[in-house]
Each structure stands twice: as C-alpha cells, then as structure tokens.
C-alpha cells in the first residue's frame, strides 16, 4: 500500500491536540525582556518631538528608542523582478520625520514584563503636525492629492500585461460590456498573533530567533546583514505557526527590532502582538478598483478583455514589492480564450497600512472582476451564463497555451488540462442544475434565492528551488529536513508520505523538520502553494538518492553482487529471496546467506566503515535541491447557492461546491481541508470582511468585533471534487499546489448567486456584499422597475412589496427589451408569471439549459 495518494492521519496532530505544540509565544528564555511598539495614532503627519522621559522614569523600563537612537536599514523587497525604483518607498523600521499610517512604529519600549512595557508605551508622548490623508488609490493618483513622499509621486508604478491588438478588437466588437468593480481592503487574520523571541550570544557572536516562518532563510539573511554577522551565525528555530495565509512570516519592522535589541541589551527580547495591533500592523491586501471591459462578437465569443486597475498599496512598499498588482494583471485572462488582452494597474501609496499577499493574491481580485464581467455580458447578450463560459473556455486541444506574458519572473505557459470538462463534472457532481431549479421555484414563492458560479485559473509551484535532506539513523528512523515551513497545511505529513514510500519505511518512522536554518543551511520557504510541488520534489530526489546508497551498501553487506535489491519493511531485501519467501537473519549462526539488511544496520555500517572496504562513503542520507523555472497552473470551478433576507439584506450561503484539478493529490484529506478552509475564508471576504477607514484615515475595524470572521453559523457544507486528470510536467510528483484554489473564486461565485437572486446579473460589483449594500441594491432595483413600467406600459401595475426588478445597463424603453435581462423577477403578486409569458422563446429556452 503506498502512502502517497492515501488519506493518512496527520503526524502533526498528536502534539497540536494535547497542548504540546511549540508556538513562538510558548517559548520563554531566562532573563527575558519584553518589547512593546509605540505606534502612530495619526494617519499622516510630520513627526515632531517624541518625549520618552515619562516612559524611562517608569519602574521596570530597560530602554525606550526612536529612529533618532538607531540607524537601521528599511524593510527590503523580497519578491519583485526589479525593485530598484521602489527603494524610496520602503518602510523605515521606526518612522523618520513623517508618519504615514495609523499603526506605524514610532518608538519601541523594552521592560521586565509585558504589562510594564505597555504602561511605558502609553507614556511616550508624540508631537504630530497633521497633514491631509490620502484615502484611496484613485484619489492618490489624482492631481492635487497630498504627496506621501517628498518630491515623489503617489503613483509608485504602472504595471501592465498585454497581448494581441486590443484597440482593434474593441473597435470591431458586436458587443462591448464595461463595468466598475471594487474589492474591499481585507487581511488574513490567522488566529495566532505574531510573536518573536531573539537571544544574543556574545561569546559566539550568534543570534537565536524563535517565531520565524514562511521564509526563514530570507529573513535570516536580512537580520544577519543588520547585525553585521554572517547568516550562518543566525539560527531561525523551527516553530509551529498558527496559520499563515500570506501575511505571517514576511519580514516586518518588529523582526529587525527584536534582533537588534537582543544584541544591544545583551538579554533575550520577546515581542507578542495583540489583535488590535495585528489588525493595523500586519500586511493588508486586496483593496482594488477595476474598470473592466469585454469585447464580444455576435456569437458571444470573447475577443478581448481590457482592465484598468487602481491598486491601493498602503503607505509603503514592503517585502512583496509589486507582486500583487503583477499577479492581478498577468493572471486576469484566467482559463479563457481571447485574441487580445490588456491590463494596466496603477499602484498607489495611501495613508493606510501597507499591503502584501493574502491567499490567492491578485487572483481573488482578478477572478471577481472577470467573472462579474462575464455574468454581465451573459445578461446583455441574452446567453446563459454557463453557456457563455462553455463557448469561451480554452479547450484541451488548445493547451498548453503560451500567454506570451510573464508573472513573477516566469513565462505564463498554461499546462495541459480540460477546463470545460471540469466545468461539466463539477455541475454534475454537485447537482448544480437542481440547485438552479430549486432556486427558481423558491423565487416564484417570493424568496430571494439564487445560484452562481465562476471558473478560474490558479498558479502554484513557484521556483526558483527548494532544498531537502534525508538522513537515516542507526535505529532506522528517517529524518527529513526541508526549507519550507509548517503553517498548518500539513507538510510534515505530506513530505513524510513521499519519503516513506521511496525508502519503504512506515510513516511513523519518518520525522519532518521544516524551516530550521541550522539543520538545513539553505532553503526558500512555504508560500504560493509551493511546499508540496517544489519541496516535495526535493524530498523525493533526496529520498531516491538515499535509497540508491542503501542498495549499494546492502549489495556489499549481503554479497549480492548486482542482484536486484528492493526496499521494503525498513530493509533492503534480495528480490529473489523475497520471492522465495525466506527471511534469513544477516550473518547469524551460519544460517542461509543473509537475504536482507535493515536501513539502521546499513547506517551503522557506513558510520564506522573499515579501511579498504567496498562500502560507499556514509552517512546514509542525501541532500538534494529541486529547481523549476515554470509555474504549474491548477484550475477550478466554484458553484454557490444563496438566500437573501429581503428585510435585513443578510445573505446565507445555502450550498457551496469547489472542483479543483491538482494533478496528483499526495494526501486527498489535506487537499480537501485546504479547499474547505479556503472557501470559508473566501465567504468571509465575500460577505463580512473589510478593513474600513474614516475620512481622517483612522481604522474603524481594529478588533474582531468589527472585522468579522465567519463562524460555524455562516459555514455551509462545502462539497469538493478533487481531480487528478492532468499531472503536472513541471515536477516528478505531477503535483499542482492546492493551497489557494479554495478561496480564489468565492467572491465571484457568491456575487453571481446574489445577482441571480435579485434578478440583477450585473450587480453586485463590490466586495464584501454587506447587508447595507444588499438593501441598497434592492432599493435601486425597485426604483428601476417602477421607472421602467411607467416608461414602458402604464397599464401594468407596478411591482410591489419586496418585488425586485430588472437590471439594466441602459434602461430599456420597451417591455420586450426587458426580457433580455433574465428572468429573476420576484414579486409579491402573480405579476411574475405574466412577465414570464412575455419572454421570447430564445431567452426562455436558454434559461432552461442554465
């Protein structure tokens, strides 16, 4: 039985279930001090005097520092093709001369205990000369906007991606559909707040750090540079991490401060943030406005997409550089065929918390814009939304498809797959057509129920490389160390499955240590759904090399010459003997010649190799690096059914389904867990979550009472279909990353279902779809219906009660034009049916297919 491909229980669970996990805040060191950051209370101001005397006078305070007391480099860019023109926008570790967002670190207090540190921080008095704040990206790019940086534009960069001749496509199009969409500012909110602990060893001139994750080797290099010591002198210890989702593990000001202060004070320094701090300090994300347009021929074929994006990056460029806008533009075409495409993203700084990546960055936003445009086009063209997608999805024959574009420094070449095929399977497996029928019946009973869907493309398995090392000890236990990190995705189990199968050992005999820079000097990290694809492939190669070494050694120990040897049961066995079923013990009491030897015995034999032996050099293990220059592209379908309470505007997700092609699921249970967890996070982003700011730039959602995460009440039963029809050619496992596809299209699918429920396919166009916004949509629709009937046919009685009305891009003059806009009318009276009879055959028949 092979471990790979089976639903084995997770090796991480026993420690996590019994309180034996090692999260960063669980670690305390003798003589430890506590750090508290003093943060700006103002969104935009020149920084005056910072009076630290009150804090310094307090009992237990060890140090109070501002930018004037330290000279530290700004937070560097980690991922971005060419950061050279971003350097002026990088964030100082402590504010210098000007504060640019509420929450920006201005001073740091160190005390004997965290309560005193907080008392001290409250006594630091900061003088602000307030300036007008810049509230969003479009305003930032506008003329006359206050400038965040002296003699520098608020528009940091314009990021573009394009192919074909967009102008010609739009000129010749039979139909053009254009709409504005907005994705609100959101953040990941892992349940564990960040925590860091650093301890300096003066004698060894070395630093130990607990709390690093995601990209420990990069962070180590930066910290070593700041302290002026070689990276090998900084050890980032392995830790459990309470969820990453993109925001945890990047290098933040606190990562540098903790390390710097530990050496300065010669005592361990610990910092653990509280939730209010987390919500203004950790990377925010999304926050984009799109003006997207689609050009179609008369047959509903997509000729081109054009999109102009205003990306609100917050006050500074941090470690992700321009990654999110770049992913937005390069992934926007998704799985669809089009001859021409052009996307332009204006990246602007504003007086809000800086942004970075959050699960499916760029793709959550771009999928929402694209699929909303397609739903609108379906309504305007009078084509069923599913049919419109069928006509425009790239078929299997058209893949691989070179988009002649680049993303994250790699060419976008979509690998093999069957997008329309997965759409059909998803609809069949989920019973989507019965969802549609049920929704239609309920609408006739005046209930606002609707169905919606979205088809999307993801990207995973980003290079450049990952490193893994396998070692076998004298007891035959296998230790795997890898550059990725454990964030809850279960890589300790998944990577153990790979190693155990290759070495023929049982799973419990394999221990995976991820992200410890001492045990593995080099590595890249866990993000962008790469741990299994790239890390797993490195483990596979290292395990194969270890297996080969074991067979080579066994041939000598068993005197087997070049007879076939097999790894199984923790042993190397003579294949012929194994067939004959004999199981002799090696070299005992003159019994039959030894037919197998355990991996532990081989490890011992290689460890004390006699001179002149034919045994290969030990130890029994190998280290391999797996590099890849192309990403691999999973794809999927999301289906949703929702109900809206017309009185409150609240939306309940009744049914949800995620279908995802992952090439090869190493552990189907953990893949499904990623899809269901991603879907819930996506439902939060679609309905509840938004980081809101006042006109003065004050954050209005600095607690979990205001930034609402979905609970079990809001969780539908999420159905999943994981397909493995097109193993990836980019790696020997055939795997595609599964960490983000659960969230990517949730905003799009739920908005589509809400539009269906309201009979207004082209709205909503803004996430999150809050109750207030739904009530506004209902009022708008009713007003349109009332005006419509007065225009079209005064004898009709106007729809009353919670009646909802037509959606229109342009208000149609005549009643029959109304029919093109879909059948989603709901009315308190029998009016609905009379409208139904007027639907021309074509629109009526296509609705049935839907």
């Amino acid at each position: 039985m092979s471990y790979v491909g089976s639903r084995v229980g997770r090796l991480e669970d026993p420690r996590l279930l019994t309180g034996a996990g090692r999260f960063a805040d669980d670690e305390d060191r003798p003589g430890q001090l506590w750090m508290r950051v003093v943060r700006s209370q103002v969104a935009h101001a020149m920084l005056g005097a910072v009076d630290t005397s009150g804090a310094l006078a307090l009992d237990g305070i060890r140090a109070v520092l501002t930018a004037a007391d330290v000279s530290l480099p700004p937070i560097p860019v980690r991922v971005s093709p060419d950061p050279s023109d971003l350097l002026a926008y990088l964030q100082p570790v402590l504010a210098q001369g000007r504060v640019r967002y509420v929450g920006e670190p201005v001073a740091v207090v160190v005390a004997d205990d965290p309560y005193q540190a907080e008392d001290g921080a409250d006594l630091v008095a900061i003088d602000y000369a307030e300036l007008a704040p810049v509230r969003d990206a479009r305003a930032a790019c506008g003329a006359g906007a206050p400038q965040l940086f002296h003699r520098l534009p608020n528009e940091v960069a314009v990021v573009t991606a394009s192919f074909g001749d967009v102008a010609a496509a739009f000129r010749d199009a039979a139909h053009v559909v254009e709409l504005d969409v907005v994705i609100g500012r959101q953040t990941a909110v892992p349940i564990e707040p960040r925590s860091l602990l650093a301890e300096w060893d003066e004698a060894g001139q070395s630093l130990d750090v607990w709390g690093a994750t995601k990209v420990p080797h990069f962070n180590r290099r930066v910290i070593a540079e700041v302290l002026g010591i070689p990276p090998a002198q900084v050890r980032m210890h392995w830790c459990d991490a309470g969820g990453g989702f993109g925001v945890r593990g990047e290098l933040y000001p606190e990562d540098i401060l903790v390390a710097y202060l530990a050496r300065l004070l010669g005592r361990p320094v610990k910092w653990t943030e509280d939730r209010a701090e987390h919500l203004v300090a950790v990377n925010h994300s999304r926050d984009q406005a799109h003006r997207i347009a689609g050009a179609f021929d008369s047959g509903g074929r997509l000729l081109a997409i054009r999109d102009e994006i205003w990306h609100d990056n917050g006050a500074y460029i941090r470690t992700h550089g321009l990654t999110v806008p770049e992913l937005t533009v390069s992934m926007l075409p998704g799985p669809y065929r089009m001859a021409s495409f052009e996307a332009t993203a204006h990246v602007a700084v504003t007086n809000k918390t800086p942004c970075g990546t959050y699960r499916a960055p760029g793709r959550y936003e771009g999928t929402f814009a694209r699929e909303r445009m397609l739903d609108t086009a379906a309504s305007v063209l009078g084509i069923d939304p599913v049919e419109l997608r069928r006509r425009n999805l790239l078929g299997p024959g058209e893949l691989p498809c070179d988009r002649s574009m680049r993303a994250l420094g790699t060419d976008v070449v979509l690998d093999e797959g069957d997008y329309p095929g997965l759409l059909e399977r998803a609809m069949t497996e989920s019973g989507y057509l019965s969802w549609v029928q049920e929704a239609r019946e309920r609408r006739c009973a005046s209930r606002l129920v609707g169905t919606g869907m979205a088809v999307f493309l993801e990207k995973s398995g980003l290079g450049p490389y990952e490193v893994a090392e396998v070692q076998v000890d004298h007891a035959g236990r296998v230790q795997v160390t890898v550059g990725g990190t454990s964030l809850g995705q279960g890589i300790e189990t998944v990577l153990a499955q790979i190693a155990a199968d290759v070495l023929g050992v049982c799973l419990d005999n394999v221990r995976v240590i991820a992200g410890d820079t001492e045990m593995l000097g080099d590595g890249v990290g866990s993000w962008a759904s790469r741990s299994t694809v790239v890390g797993g492939s490195a483990v596979l190669r290292a395990a194969e090399a270890t297996g080969a070494l074991a067979r080579q050694a066994a041939a000598v120990l068993l005197g087997a010459g070049d007879a076939e040897l097999r790894l199984a049961g923790g042993r190397v066995n003579l294949a012929s003997a194994a067939q004959a079923g004999s199981q002799g013990q090696p070299g005992e009491r003159g019994g039959p010649a030894a037919v197998s030897v355990t991996l532990g015995e081989i490890a011992a034999a290689l460890a004390d190799r006699p001179a002149g032996t034919d045994l290969p050099p030990g130890p029994l293990g190998a280290r391999r690096e797996f590099s890849v220059d192309h990403m691999t592209y999973p794809y999927g379908v999301h289906l949703a059914q929702v109900e809206i309470d017309p009185g409150t505007g609240a939306i309940r997700v009744l049914r949800y389904f995620v279908a995802y092609e992952v090439g090869h699921a190493i552990n189907p249970a953990t893949v499904e867990g990623q899809l269901v967890g991603g879907a819930l996070q996506g439902i939060g982003g679609a309905l509840f979550e938004e980081v809101a700011y006042s006109p003065e730039g004050q954050p209005l959602t600095a607690s979990l009472i205001d930034y609402l995460l979905p609970s079990a009440h809001e969780a539908p039963d999420v159905g999943t279909l994981v397909t493995e029809d097109y193993p990836s050619r980019s790696n020997p496992l055939g795997a595609k990353g599964a960490g983000e596809g659960g969230i990517t299209a949730v905003g799009a699918a739920i908005a589509s279902a809400v539009g269906d429920a309201l009979g207004t396919p082209s709205v909503p166009t803004r996430l999150p779809i809050t109750p207030e916004r739904v009530c506004q949509l209902i009022d708008d629709a009713q007003r349109r219906i009332c005006s419509l009937f007065e225009v079209a046919d005064s004898s009709e009685d106007v729809l009353l009660g919670n009646g909802l009305g037509a959606d229109s891009i342009t208000v149609p003059e005549r009643l029959d034009k109304l029919s093109v806009l879909g059948d989603g009318f709901v009315t308190g009276s029998c009016h609905l049916r009379s409208l139904r009879e007027r639907l021309p055959e074509q629109a009526h028949e296509s609705q049935q297919q839907g």
Partner: protein
C-alpha cells in the same frame, strides 16, 4: 511587581500557589507562570475563544479573567485531555475527521466541547453547530470540527 496577591489554583488536579498582580490575566498566569502553554491567546478581547479553559467545570475565556479571580478554583486545560501517545476520545475524533490544521484554535475548541458533551452527551447537529460557533477557526472551515464533535458524541465521549 507592584501589589502582588498570593493565590492558590488547582490546574488539572495539581495545586499551585503563586503571587500575581491583580491585573495579570488567567491566560498569562497559566501560560507564562505555570507553563501550561497548551492554552492559546488569539485576540485578548474574548471573541476567538482560543484561550477557553474550564473553571470549576465551566468554559471560560481565560484572556478575560484575571488570575486573582481563579483563586481557590479548579482549572482544566487541554493538557488534561490526553497525551501525544494516548489521545483522549475527543482528541482522537478531531484527528480522525481532520478537525484541525494549524492547531492554534484547537485547545479552545477541545475544552469548550469537553464541557458541552459532559452537559449534553447526545446533542443534535444544530446544538453542536451552535456551540462550535462560539469559537473561531481560520483554517478548517469548521466542517472537520463539526464532524469530529458529532462522532465523539456518538461514541459517548461525553459520558
């Protein structure tokens, strides 16, 4: 330490005597003074529930209680439910049904549900969802947690 109060707390059957400041939360006392690091702090304002422990048998947010309020009381934390080598029935159900991923919220759910199943050994699905909705998880989407609690209840974990 300013005005410290000496308190006696029994944790998982072991009595502890220590001096704490009045403003020190029970979560900090458990985690940093008594080294019961299985209890986790996720928000410090009573919403996420990761810090849930049982005080005299009832679930409580230990981030919203002061250590001095637990004087003379008996506290149960996740460390009492089983060991990595031998999981308790509810813990076993969580791993069988993939009811955890990062594990940070898990101790809070385990203690909440332990008290719930003692009180309601055979709950309905709606009752389970109602209780599970008291705490937040950001990784699993709750599906595995709900199934685990259902399975544990059916196997009599509450009795």
């Amino acid at each position: 330490m300013t005005d410290a109060h000496s308190i006696r707390i029994t944790v998982n059957g072991t009595e502890h005597e220590l001096a704490v400041e009045p403003r020190r939360t029970l979560a900090d006392v458990l985690r940093h003074d008594l080294a019961y690091t299985g209890t986790h702090v996720g928000c410090e304002h009573g919403i996420c529930g990761a810090c849930t422990v049982l005080v005299d048998g009832l679930p409580a947010r230990s981030c919203l209680m002061f250590g001095v309020q637990a004087d003379g009381r008996s506290v149960e934390t996740v460390e009492a439910l089983g060991t990595p080598e031998e999981l308790g029935p509810l813990q076993q159900a969580f791993t069988d049904h993939h009811g955890l991923q990062c594990g940070f919220c898990t101790p809070g759910f385990l203690m909440l549900v332990t008290a719930f199943l003692r009180e309601t050994p055979s709950p309905t699905d709606e009752e389970i969802r109602e209780v599970v909705a008291s705490n937040l998880c950001r990784c699993t989407g709750y599906q595995g947690i709900l199934r685990a609690v259902r399975a544990a209840a059916d196997d009599g974990a509450g009795s």
